[in-house]
Symmetry: C2
Amino acid sequence: MTELEAYLPFWGKLIPGQREQLRASAVRRVFEKGDNVRRGPEHCIGLLMVCSGQLRVYITSDSGREVTLYRLFERDICLLSASCMMPNIQFEVSVQAWERTEVVVIPAAVYQELAKTSLPVAAYTSDLMAARLSDVMWLLDQVMNKSFDSRLAAFLLEEAGESMVLQRTHEEIARYLGSAREVVTRMLRYFQDEGAVSLSRGVVHIRDAALLKRYARESLR
Amino acid sequence: MTELEAYLPFWGKLIPGQREQLRASAVRRVFEKGDNVRRGPEHCIGLLMVCSGQLRVYITSDSGREVTLYRLFERDICLLSASCMMPNIQFEVSVQAWERTEVVVIPAAVYQELAKTSLPVAAYTSDLMAARLSDVMWLLDQVMNKSFDSRLAAFLLEEAGESMVLQRTHEEIARYLGSAREVVTRMLRYFQDEGAVSLSRGVVHIRDAALLKRYARESLR
């Protein structure tokens, strides 16, 4: 399975026995668009390496509103689908195939054993954790400070008007909204991931005005 | 410094040179009640081991409302105060001494080096990350599903009435609110940490009815 070697940054630092164990236990799986990859903690299929397609990790509010925590694309690795091996993880997220998605599954027990015996794997795992923590913190901040996404969405709708196209750099948009370019860029990317806009150099195309209006109205919540 | 040996679960697995490095670089610091231990990423003082007292890690909303992410007590270790060493951490949290707090500070660079060279340290770091991720996910869930904390707060106020005391097990409260005991327990602990109630076997004492009323009214947000 060439993906193991290509996608696992620590592959080169594993000893032969560890590589053998991975090769022997990893299996390829395909999820069709919309498939639920994981539902709740009881469903612990293992570590997922995305080979093609896209996985969406989200939580669902009581009101049934789904909020995307983050998305995983080719070469990304989904740790939470192996959360059963992490005693400290006590929450439920849903993982859905956003499009037809091919993954390589590494059994949780195998990865757990690796993380216990290989320093590069343990270090990589904590880097992944930190990245996910950062994603979730960002989202929490958005939910707490719900003004900015609404303001940005409203600004995009107003500026684009009928044309549905906005010819502004993130820098300019940030200036208009009294924000920082990084803040604008990250929120625009979130909008793009959700399918509300598409981004190209200096141009924002509005793809789903209704969704954007909802952000403008009720924010990420 | 005896705390290093007593508080660091991986101490026994370090090689002598690593222990020396920790002993040589760790410094004791005391923060007075209310002191800001860390403000933003520019302020990266290193890894904090709480020896006594309590640290509160929180974010501040645009409206100025502070929301506690988690609290660190004796023997707890604050990683985020060393987040400058984690490229994947891109958010700002504030750390405040909730009471007079004595800590041992391990310089970020020293810990980073350790995590790169010691498997037990790397594994411990990812466990800590997972625990914090779990805390933040829980909080995000509360903010998204704002009904439960409000309902619980309202229930406590109503049941306790003038007496400010509620003689119910978490099990019973969960049944009344159509929830699970674990959910009630965790939220009651959050209320307790925030000073709204104090918990003892089968009894909930209301300590800050005004704060509880605010939860009942406007939820965690």
